[in-house]
Every structure is written in structure tokens, then in C-alpha cells.
Symmetry: C2
Subunit: 321 residues, 2 copies
């Protein structure tokens, strides 16, 4: 088509053609911080932007993985190609422990229209989120119709993967009192769709009322009315409606022009986030390897030099190397 695609690498070519093994290989390169991974993302980036990106957030234990598994089954009925990316360290996807009633998720591993990948490591959250964003991009470029991202709703690293989503689904369950309080207090962002999973619980009606109360206090940025859905993901209940609402939200933001706005804002914050994470790693390396920097920190620990002055000295000495 143009010069760029004429010189595309064999791996990128296979990836954009939808080859599943090329996708797996690409993500491994990204995950291991191989320069070839970054080169690949550079090559395929012009092919991104087509997939519908849906982020699932919420406290551990509410059944986000089961919900994503059930939604995947639903979307497969419509013949949509799905990629799932989990960066929730407590997720059964991430832990590879697909046992008990979770076994149903593994059925998707045999479906060529579904690609599931998890990334997790506590501690290195900056680098992890950065890698996850790149992984979402290659999933998008590989021709998936939907990229479903699972993340735990606590903690905001330097880059929040959920910020990359077009539609954000908050999953709760009866008993998610802390999340309700966080919504009410304005400490938690208002999502696009709220799902009350495990809705066979007798307290579900109370929970729906509380969520509605929390939403009524919130300022929503646009005219989208946040739906509150009841699901029993383990039995597939309410999942068809979730699929409809995800599609409706996407259509809504597309029609309003907010999809383009959201993506522009997200891409800008991605650039800033990646740059900041790299700077931080550079500083961390300097702290480890440079005896001068180690000495600087020792002076802080002995209370000779205050942290802010030490930070200023660190920035002067270490950045323009």
C-alpha cells in the first residue's frame, strides 16, 4: 500500500494477518523488554485503533475473570475475535490456576478466535503497565474485534491500563461496601457500566440501590447514563445484556465524538506515562550503580541532607548523562 507496509518485518506481517503464534511471540518480546518488541509496536502502530477496548476493573473476588470468560462466549456467538489481557495479580488468568468452576474459562484456550494472555508482577508496576499497553496495541493490530482488559481496581501506577479503554466496566458484588463508599466520596472514578455480579445473593437489591445512590451524587462528564446490570457470570446470566451495553456505549461515544477525544487524551497520557516510567528506571539504575548517588542517599538517611535537596542533586547529576 505504502512504503512502510512494503518494508514490514516478517513477524509484523504475520501479526497483522492474525497469526496467533505471532501475537504470542510479540507479547513475549514486549514482556521481556526485548528491543525487537518495541520495534514491532512501532511497525504495527498505524494498524491499531480498530478494536473495541473494554477495561474491567473492580476489587478482587467479585468474579471479573468469570465475567470476562462469559462475555467472551457471548461475543463469540457474534463471531467477534477476542483478545483478553489480564494484569490483575489476583486473577485466575494470571495465576494460571483455572480450577474448579473456573475450568470453563479454559474452554476458550482451544478456540482459535480467542487469545488469552496475562501479565503480572508485583513491585514493577510502572514497567508492567507500560508493557500491558504495548500488548493491548499488538492485540488490536492483530485484527481482534474486542480487547478485554482485566485489572484490579485498587492502586494507580504511573500508567493506568484502564485509561487505555474505550469503555470501562466496574464489577462489584453484594458486599462491595468499600467501593460504594469510594464512589460516593468521589475517590473512585465513575465507570461507563457497572455490573453487580453474583446477583443471586439476597443483598443484591440493596446493593443496586446503594450504587444508584452513589451515582446520583456523581458528576458524569457526558450524557451517558451509567447502566447498573445484574449478572451471575458463572451461569451466564445477564451476560447478553452486558454485551449489548458495551456495544451501546461504544456507539454512544462514537456518535458524540468522545471516542476520538478519549483516545487522543489516553494516547497523550500514555506518552507521558512511558516517559516518566523510563526516567524513574534511569534514576533507579543510577541509585544502584553510582557510588556518588548511594552516598547522597546515605546523607539523607543520616539526616544531613533533606530528601528534596537530594532529589534536586540527583536530577542535576544524573539526567543528562
Amino acid at each position: 500500500m505504502n512504503e512502510t507496509s512494503a518494508t514490514i518485518s516478517p513477524l509484523a506481517e504475520r501479526l497483522v494477518a492474525g497469526d496467533k503464534r505471532a501475537l504470542a511471540r510479540a507479547i513475549t518480546l514486549i514482556e521481556s523488554d526485548d528491543p525487537a518488541g518495541w520495534d514491532l509496536v512501532r511497525e504495527i502502530f498505524p494498524r491499531t485503533g480498530k478494536a473495541r477496548i473494554t477495561g474491567f476493573t473492580g476489587p478482587p473476588g467479585v468474579g471479573k475473570s468469570t465475567l470476562i470468560g462469559a462475555l467472551t462466549a457471548e461475543l463469540r456467538k457474534l463471531d467477534r475475535e477476542i483478545a483478553v489481557l489480564s494484569i490483575d495479580p489476583s486473577s485466575p488468568f494470571t495465576q494460571g490456576a483455572l480450577l474448579g468452576d473456573r475450568i470453563r474459562l479454559t474452554e476458550h484456550f482451544l478456540d482459535s478466535g480467542v487469545f488469552i494472555r496475562s501479565m503480572a508482577s508485583r513491585g514493577a508496576l510502572g514497567g508492567l503497565s507500560e508493557a500491558a499497553l504495548q500488548a493491548a496495541l499488538v492485540m488490536d493490530a492483530s485484527g481482534k474485534d474486542d480487547v478485554l482488559i482485566e485489572t484490579v481496581g485498587v492502586g494507580q501506577g504511573e500508567i493506568d491500563i484502564v485509561d487505555h479503554a474505550d469503555t470501562i466496566v466496574l464489577a462489584l458484588m453484594p458486599g462491595s461496601g468499600d467501593s460504594i463508599q469510594a464512589l460516593k466520596a468521589g475517590v473512585m472514578e465513575i465507570p461507563d457500566i457497572i455490573v453487580i455480579n453474583k446477583a443471586d445473593h439476597p443483598m443484591t437489591d440493596t446493593m443496586v440501590r446503594e450504587v444508584r445512590g452513589a451515582l446520583s451524587l456523581a458528576q458524569t462528564p457526558d450524557d451517558w447514563r451509567v447502566p447498573i446490570l445484574r449478572t451471575e457470570a458463572a451461569r451466564g446470566e445477564g451476560i447478553a445484556e452486558l454485551a449489548v451495553k458495551v456495544a451501546e456505549h461504544r456507539e454512544f461515544i462514537e456518535a458524540e465524538g468522545t471516542l476520538a477525544e478519549r483516545r487522543a487524551r489516553n494516547l497523550r497520557s500514555e506518552v507521558l506515562g512511558i516517559a516518566t516510567a523510563r526516567l524513574r528506571r534511569r534514576l533507579e539504575a543510577a541509585i544502584k550503580d553510582d557510588p556518588g548517588v548511594a552516598g547522597l542517599l546515605d546523607r539523607v538517611v543520616s539526616r544531613e541532607l533533606d530528601p528534596a535537596s537530594a532529589a534536586a542533586e540527583l536530577l542535576e547529576g544524573e539526567i543528562d548523562d
Copy 2:
């Protein structure tokens, strides 16, 4: 005593002498990012390290402010001087809305042995945490025996103020299901003390059992056994025991040598956090003011240039100015 104290500024002198108005002024300087605030922290930093720093974290609505108010009253009985710093945007301290049963907190405003200050602004969390750390340092230098820091338990900015504490208290209440799940899943750090507030609730026993269960799964770094306390902060119930446990934990880490270790690690991460936050602000300024950078981001939005390559270009061009 030495050269440094001979040339100490009048404000620093008043601050270390325990002058309450000097402390208020110092924090205002820090909050408004006045260079005089940074100078002051530099001057007083050698006088820090004496106060007992206790961090209170937990979801909104569990009554952290009331708990801190009640603990303050308890510690005043022992004639300890107290400073309270709230950086929880949903806190009644922060909102200045000390109404209803919260009025009891205001009684401390009239007590010259108590200094209460809040800082809050959503969005600028990097800068806020940085300022909060400096505020905690001046509180410490002003001769307070206890610095009590209130923070909401969700979200981890670049610098987490709780990391500055010697003792971390997690406040929960019956119904804090999400936090229990987060503890169980290992997504939330294990605190030093857990308080179940609003313990007059009939579900308190269940809650205590669940917390105990979550703790039994966790790996604790040292031999400290995390106590689970029941309080009704609004009535002062269980607060004497909380005061005892805070003191015991402090003695424990002092005896084990982990206090020094903790503080050294915290100070190191503070330096890194401040440096990273400053770099991020520098980048943000470049993005706003530099037409070249704006053009770079436009190329990302139009999917010509991938985010990681844009970040690399940004770092090359903007850091060594």
C-alpha cells in the same frame, strides 16, 4: 551547637521552638510551592526523626477521622503533643465540614497541644504527596510527639505518604468486603495494626474472623503479630487499646532494629519519588509549552508515531534543557 544552628532563619527557629503559628506558616509555604518552604525543610531536616509517625489508611466512610480524633484525645491524656495531617480528599478534616457527630473533632482546634492540617486536591497527587511529606517533616521538627497521617486506602501516587509512617494502621468496618478480598489476594499490603471501627455493628464478629483468615494467608515480613482491634471511635471505645498497640509496635520495631531500616528505605524512596514527580512536571510543562512536543503528540494521535517512540523522542529533546 554547630554552624548550621547558628545561622538558622527566624521562621525555622520559631518552628523548632514549637510555635504553632510558625508551623502553620511553614506548611502554607510548602503547600504553595514557595522556595522558602523548601529552604525551611532543608534547615530543619537535621531536627527531624524524633516524632512517632503513624499512618491511618482505609476506605472512605470507615471513620478514620473520628478514630484519629479519639486517639488524639487519648494521647493528650499522656500529655503528648499531636500533629494531624489529612490527605484524604473525602475526609471531614479535609472538607472542613466538621458537622454533626464530627463536631467533636473541632474541640482539638482549641487545644494548643494539637495541630490539625489537611491537604487535598484531586488530580495533582504527585505534587500533593510530595508536599505532604514535607509537611510531616516540619511537624516532626516542631517537636510534636506524634504525627498522625490520614490517607484514603485506594490509589498509590508516585509517592505514597503511608510509606513515610513508622506504624501503619488499617481501619475497616463491618462490610469492608472489598478490603478483605484485597488483603486475601495479596493486592493490599499487610498493615501493622488493623482496627475494625463501628464495632457495635452485629456483623463485627464475622468481620474479625474474615480479617484473621486474610492475615493467616499473608506473609508478614517480621515477627510482629498484627493485632485486630475493635473500636467505636465515636464513643471512644477501644481507643486506649489502640494507643497501647501503637506504642507497642513502635517499641517492637525499635528493639528489632527495623525502625531504622524502615526509615532508611522510606527516605530513599522519598528522594526517588520527589525526583520522579519533578521530572514528570517538567515533561508536562514541555508538553504544554513546546509546539514541537505538541506536534509529536499529534503524530501519536494520528497513529503515525507509536507512544513508546514518542516518549523516547520526548526524553531526548526535553530533559537536558
